[in-house]
C-alpha cells in the first residue's frame, strides 16, 4: 500500500470540484490512457480580470492522480491566469503534504493540464515535450528517460557522474544496476554509431572542450555563469533548495546553497554536478565553493 498522507486520502475520498464544469472557457486534456493517468482540467475564466472563477476536473487515474487534480483546482481558484501558471508541481505535492516518489508524476500531470487549459483559453496551441520513463531511482524520483538523456548529452560513463547530474543513485544505491544498464546501452549506441568510433571518456571531453570554446570577455563569462546556474535552479527548487552566486573570483565561484540543499547528504554531490556543468559551459576549469570559504581559498 502506498504511504499516502492524510491530505491525499482526504482529497481522494472527497474530491473538490469533480465533474463537468458548465460554461468552461479553458479546457486542458493531458495524460495517457496507456499509463493509466488522464486528466481534463476545466476553467471558467473571467475575461476582464483573467481571474479563474471556477475550476473543475475529470480524472482517469489512481488515488494520488485524483487527489492532485482536486488539490490543483483548489489552489488555482481565485488566481489570475498568470498567477496560476506560477504554480509548480511541487506546490501541488506540498499542498497534499507530499506524494510518494512513484507518484510525483501525478502532480506533474496537474501542472501540465493547467498549462494546457490556459493555452486553450488564450487560443494558443500547447505542445508538450514531456516524456516519461520507468522510475529508476525511488530515492529521488528520477526516471529512465531523464537519466538516458542526461547520460547521452553529457557523455557520462559512471554511476557517480549520473548521481552528480541527476541525483539518481545518490541515496540507498539500490538502483545502481538499473543506472548501469542505461550507461551500457548508451555507450553501446555510441560505439556502433559510424561517426563516433571511440567512446569519449570524461577526461577527453574536458580536455577537448577548452580548445573548442572561443575566448569569452569578462562580461560574457559572468553572463554565462549566471545562465548556467539559472538553468539548474528549477531542479534544486523542485527539492525545496536553491542556489545563489555570491562572488566570482578568477577560477573560484562562490555560491550559497539554500533551503533543503543545506546539509543535505547530496550537498557535495550537488556542488560537484553544478561545477561540472559550469566547466562545460565555460570551456575552462572553475571551482565551485561555498560562500563560507570566501577569502580563505587560494
Amino acid at each position: 500500500m502506498w504511504d499516502y498522507s492524510e491530505k491525499v486520502r482526504e482529497h481522494f475520498f472527497n474530491p473538490r470540484n469533480a465533474g463537468l464544469l458548465d460554461g468552461a472557457n479553458g479546457v486542458g486534456d493531458v495524460g495517457s490512457i496507456k499509463c493509466g493517468d488522464a486528466l481534463r482540467l476545466m476553467l471558467k475564466v473571467d475575461p476582464d480580470s483573467e481571474k479563474i472563477v471556477e475550476a473543475g476536473f475529470q480524472t482517469f487515474g489512481c488515488g494520488s492522480a485524483i487527489a492532485s487534480s482536486s488539490a490543483l483546482t483548489e489552489i488555482i481558484k481565485g488566481k489570475t491566469l498568470d498567477e496560476a501558471l506560477k504554480v509548480s508541481n511541487q506546490d501541488i505535492a506540498d499542498y497534499l503534504d507530499g506524494l510518494p516518489p512513484e507518484k510525483m508524476h501525478c502532480s506533474v500531470m496537474g501542472r501540465e493540464a493547467l498549462q494546457a487549459a490556459v493555452a486553450n483559453y488564450r487560443g494558443e496551441v500547447w505542445k508538450d515535450d514531456h516524456e516519461e520513463g520507468a522510475l529508476i531511482c525511488k530515492c529521488f524520483a528520477v526516471d529512465a528517460v531523464l537519466i538516458e538523456e542526461v547520460v547521452r548529452v553529457n557523455s557520462l560513463t559512471t554511476v557517480e557522474q549520473v548521481a552528480h547530474f541527476t541525483k539518481a543513485g545518490g541515496g540507498c544505491a539500490s538502483c545502481h544496476e538499473g543506472i548501469e544498464e542505461i550507461l551500457a546501452k548508451v555507450s553501446k549506441e555510441a560505439c556502433t554509431a559510424p561517426t563516433a568510433a571511440t567512446k569519449p571518456t570524461p577526461a577527453s571531453v574536458a580536455a577537448a572542450a577548452p580548445a573548442a570554446a572561443p575566448k569569452l570577455t569578462n562580461f560574457q563569462r559572468i553572463r554565462k555563469i549566471e545562465e548556467t546556474v539559472e538553468a539548474i535552479r528549477p531542479m534544486l527548487q523542485r527539492d525545496h533548495g536553491d542556489i545563489e552566486i555570491v562572488e566570482i573570483d578568477g577560477k573560484n565561484i562562490y555560491v550559497n546553497l539554500k533551503g533543503a540543499c543545506v546539509g543535505c547528504m547530496m550537498e557535495a554531490a550537488t556542488l560537484n554536478g553544478i561545477q561540472t556543468k559550469l566547466v562545460e559551459a565555460l570551456g575552462e576549469f572553475v571551482r565551485l565553493l561555498p560562500a563560507a570559504m570566501l577569502g580563505k581559498a587560494q
Partner: protein, 404 residues
C-alpha cells in the same frame, strides 16, 4: 450490521490456519534444536521435518519423500529450477516460458536473456490460453527447460502442464511448473506426470510466509543454487526453517482435506460474487479462461476507471482485493497478464481481482456484491471517459489528451 473487514486477496497471501500456528509454536521454544545435531534436541526436530516432508509428498502425489526440497519461498524454487536446468545442460541454451508468468520467472528470464540465453515467451489468446502448436514449434534440441505456470495468479487460468511436460520430454528438455497458485486448489498427482520440477509457496495455502518447496523428480539432472551444508541432501544448503516447515506440513495436510470444499463451496461463492457484480455493473467483464480456472479467483475488468482508485474505495468499505493497474505496482504499464490477453488499456487499468479462501462466508460475499456497484459508479462520475449515462461516444476520440 456487521462490518468486519472482508479479505478477498488470497492469491496475494493467505491467513495462517490456527492449527498451523499451534503446530509451529513449540519450534520457537522447547523444540529449538538444529535438526542436523546428534543430540536429542536436534533429533526431535529432525523427526518433525520428516513428518512434514511426508505431508507435502502426499499432497503433491510425489513418488519419493526425497523429491521434496524445502526452500525459502516460491521465488527461490523458481530460480533454483531454471538455473539448475541451464547449469546441468550446458549444451542447451533455450528457455521456453509464457508471457503471463509471475515476475519470479519473467524477471529472471529477462536477466538470462541479457546473459545470452535464448528466451521464447509463448503468447496467449484473449482468454489467456496457450496455443499448443506454437509451443510444439518452439521446442527444439537446444531447449534446456520449459517453465509454465500451473495456474495464473491474476486470472486463475489453468495451463495444460501435464500435456506440456510430455511434449517437453519428447524433445529432451526438462519441464518446470510454477504451481504456487495451484497447490491446494487443484488435485495434483506428480508421479503420474512427466513434470520434473514444481514450485510451491507456503503462504498461498495458509502456511507462513518465507517457506517454499521445490519438487525435484528423482533422476532429474540438478545443480544446487545454494551450496554449503548437507541440508536437504546437499540440494539446498542452509539450516532448515524448522517451524515454518512444520507449519507447511500441517497446511498441506489440511489442503488435501479441504480440496473438495475449495472446488464446491468456495467455487460457488466465487460464482455468486462474479454473477452478482456482472448483473449490476454495466461495462465490465470477467477476464481469463472462465471455464477453466482456479475455483477461488474472479478477475473483473471495470472499463473507464483505474484500479488503484477502486481498491482504495473498496478498502474504505472494508474489502481487500487487488488490481492489475499500473499504479498499484509503481510501473508504467498495466498488468502484463492483461496486456498479453489483449485487454485494451481502458479496461486493463481497471481490472480488479477477487480471490477467495475457505474462510469466506456467504454474508461477506453479499456485502461485497452490494458495495461494488456504487464504488464503480462514483469513479465513473469523475472519469473523462464516462458521460451522463454511459461511456462517451468513441472514448478514445472524445478525450484525446496531449500526449498519448
Amino acid at each position: 450490521m456487521n462490518d468486519a473487514p472482508i479479505y478477498l486477496d488470497n492469491n496475494a497471501t493467505t491467513a495462517c490456519d490456527p492449527a498451523v500456528v499451534s503446530a509451529m509454536l513449540p519450534f520457537f521454544t522447547e523444540q529449538f534444536g538444529n535438526p542436523s545435531s546428534m543430540h536429542s534436541f536436534g533429533n526431535k526436530v529432525g523427526f518433525a521435518l520428516k513428518e512434514a516432508r511426508a505431508k507435502v509428498q502426499a499432497l503433491l502425489g510425489a513418488e519419493h519423500d526425497s523429491e521434496i526440497v524445502f526452500t525459502s519461498c516460491g521465488t527461490e524454487s523458481d530460480s533454483t529450477a531454471i538455473l539448475s536446468a541451464l547449469k546441468a545442460q550446458p549444451e542447451r541454451n533455450q528457455i521456453i516460458t509464457t508471457a503471463v508468468e509471475h515476475p519470479a520467472i519473467l524477471t529472471l528470464c529477462e536477466y538470462l536473456e541479457k546473459e545470452g540465453y535464448a528466451i521464447t515467451r509463448l503468447g496467449v489468446d484473449k482468454r489467456g490460453r496457450l496455443d499448443m502448436d506454437e509451443y510444439k514449434a518452439a521446442l527444439g534440441p537446444r531447449t534446456a527447460i520449459v517453465s509454465a505456470m500451473w495456474a495464473n495468479n491474476e486470472s486463475g487460468t489453468i495451463f495444460p502442464v501435464e500435456q506440456m511436460a510430455e511434449l517437453a520430454h519428447a524433445a529432451g528438455a526438462q519441464f518446470h511448473t510454477d504451481a504456487v497458485q495451484a497447490v491446494g486448489k487443484i488435485a495434483i498427482d506428480l508421479k503420474k506426470t512427466k513434470i520434473d520440477m514444481l514450485s510451491l509457496s507456503g503462504h498461498k495455502l495458509h502456511a507462513p510466509k518465507g517457506v517454499g518447496v521445490l519438487y525435484l523428480r528423482r533422476g532429474t539432472r540438478y545443480r544446487p543454487l545454494l551450496r554449503g551444508g548437507h541440508q536437504e541432501r546437499g540440494r539446498r544448503a542452509g539450516t532448515e526453517n524448522a517451524a515454518s516447515i512444520v507449519g507447511l506440513g500441517v497446511a498441506c495436510e489440511q489442503a488435501q482435506q479441504q480440496m473438495a470444499f475449495e472446488n464446491t463451496a468456495v467455487k460457488r461463492l466465487r460464482d455468486r460474487l462474479e454473477a452478482g457484480i456482472l448483473a449490476q455493473v454495466p461495462r465490465c467483464f470477467p477476464t481469463g479462461d472462465v471455464t477453466n480456472r482456479l475455483p477461488n479467483t474472479s478477475n473483473i475488468a471495470f472499463e473507464f476507471i483505474e484500479g488503484e482508485a477502486i481498491l482504495l474505495l473498496l478498502n474504505k468499505a472494508g474489502i481487500a482485493a487487488s488490481s492489475g493497474s499500473a499504479c498499484t505496482s509503481g510501473s508504467l504499464e498495466p498488468s502484463h497478464v492483461m496486456r498479453a490477453m489483449g485487454i485494451p488499456y481502458t479496461a486493463a487499468h481497471g481490472t480488479t481481482r477477487f480471490s477467495l479462501s475457505r474462510y469466506n462466508t456467504e454474508s461477506e460475499i453479499d456485502r461485497v456484491i452490494a458495495a461494488v456497484p456504487p464504488i464503480i459508479a462514483q469513479l465513473r462520475k469523475i472519469s473523462p471517459y464516462w458521460g451522463e449515462k454511459g461511456p462517451v461516444e468513441k472514448p478514445e476520440d472524445a478525450f484525446a489528451p496531449a500526449y498519448a
